[in-house]
Amino acid sequence: MIVLPVDILASGRRDRDLFPDAPMPDSELLAGGYHPPVLVRASDELVLWGWSVIRVAEKLGLEELPVAYFEGSREDEYAIALRLEARTDRFSFRERELLLNAAVADQIAEETFERVLGPHIVSDGPVVSVTRRFAALEPTLKRVVCDRLIDLKSAERVAAVPPGVVERALAATAFRALSFSRRRQFFGLMAEIAIREPERLAQIVDAALESESPEKYLTERRYPRLTEYTNRFDRSRTQIERGSGLRIRAPEYFEGASYRLEIPFSSREELVERLDRARKIEGYCDELFSLLQ
């Protein structure tokens, strides 16, 4: 068994730590000498894999760690490090970006990275193009994607939103309290409003964050005409239904030719009374049909 002093290992090139989000190794296994050895390049003792092991060893006050020397092609170095890491589909975007940049700096072609190393990183789908998309994000958005506050696609959608507005939303308790899908919806709507009403965006987002339902508020701002029709219909509906026992429904999205009226009744008298009430709906016809035509 080859061992090297921990302080020597720890003084190596930290920029080669490609797995900063790796889970911490088990302290007991490490102290007991049952952990896989740190992988070191034979020619110059560069740590190829095991920075998380070295960090824990330092914390535990261990003096030396077992190492395994490796000498091979650059792509073999990355491949063995990825296999030791054994976290397919669980690498953070930050790690993916580090890996890709390091590999490119080591003259590994992107096509080779995708073909040889990609399957160790994700089990399905492209790695390079998705990582490049992440790399193109602003630092704030990178952070929230890494923190899984929003997904990559949602982050990309707000690329045109002024960073200050995005940061205000991200910092707001009201935003953080939303579920993941509601945050996605919020971001999507914010991106679209940024295109529709760029000069009023900040004001709208602030108002949304203060409202009871932020994404509902944004939806109403994004779809003002549909919201207006909905509100107008709701006003008529409230009047029609109040105390009448009747139920009136508009076609979905006001797409269609007719309204539906429901007249529940449980006696002859009730039927007569409700039919009488139903006749009064005629007074709302102009308003109702103006929403469809």
């Binding site: 529709r196 549909l226 029709y229 999205y253 797409e255 030719a257 469809l292 035509q293």
Partner: protein, 365 residues
Amino acid sequence: MSYFRSYSELFNEVYVERAASRLPAVERCRDGMPGSRFTLVEERRDIPAEHLRSSTLFLCRPRGEVFGRCPGTSGHVCCNYNTLDLYLGCTLGCSYCIMRTYLNFAPVTVYVDAQPGIDAVVRAAESNPGRQVRVGTGEVGDSLLLDPLFRLSEEFVRAFAGIDNVTFEMKTKTDLVDHLLDVDPKGNAVIGFSLSVPSVAQQEDGFSSSIDDRISAAGRAARAGYALAFHFDPIIQSETWSIEIDALVAKLRALGAYRVAWISMGTVRFPASLQESISDRPYMYDEFVPCRDGKFRYLQKERIALYRRLRDLLRTVTDAPVYLCMESAAVWTTLFDAPPVAGPLFTRLSGIGNHPRLQKTGSSS
């Protein structure tokens, strides 16, 4: 045309199915694309994967049924149009084109043998005496973009010229009509021009001809004896739409006397699958709602207002039939009092199946 000097600029590779290689249209293509590389293949799947793109041209005999009923769109009113496959795919690059969702990674295909299509339409005309067979080649590609090269449309025009109940339409966003002007006889042939207000055409119609050039071409076609059709589709509303549409219809009025076979109107619509690829287009940020066929359209009331305005303007120019493309019965009824089930132009023909190619995809634009 101003956007390319020769067809060799549009296509990097030309693959020719061996069985079609001696057809006159292929010879015309060779003459029109001197210096281009032509490669003989036994069939489409012999085209290398790296050439499966729209800058590749594939010339072949027709596959399967080339003539069929336009599939329309579910839950909406069909105008009972029939389609004839000729040019499949398009290099114009209009932002809203439905074909972007399924033809992007395919070569532009030309069915260089017109005869099977001619035979199918003649059979339909014979089996539907007294009914008008409306058929066009503009469903899955521009009818005229490549036509000066292949000159296939004139074969159809000549073949149908003597058949009273066939109206053959060539639908285009180009001004490439000059090669058709001297075709004689023309019979009921129609040249249909897709029109938008100029600001939209400039931004969204890719490499199509300008609206002025299209109208000018319409004038030449009309003077040569063709009936015209105009397709205001897709209508994309904007702050200037109302002013621009006035001016556009005024230009149609200024063309003078001409025959108009029909006019269609359709507002912009798109399936969810196209949404991402057009997310950079400003019109995407208007208000759209999902309709019964799953496509997104403007709110019904807004669509009706656009149609009403255009219909009223068109009535000052022509009394030709105006219809809606892929619209709901509710909109039809509001605008025209009833769907066009009984009109002679819109009568459904018997013995014609749905368009097989588009049936596979489930919808068209």
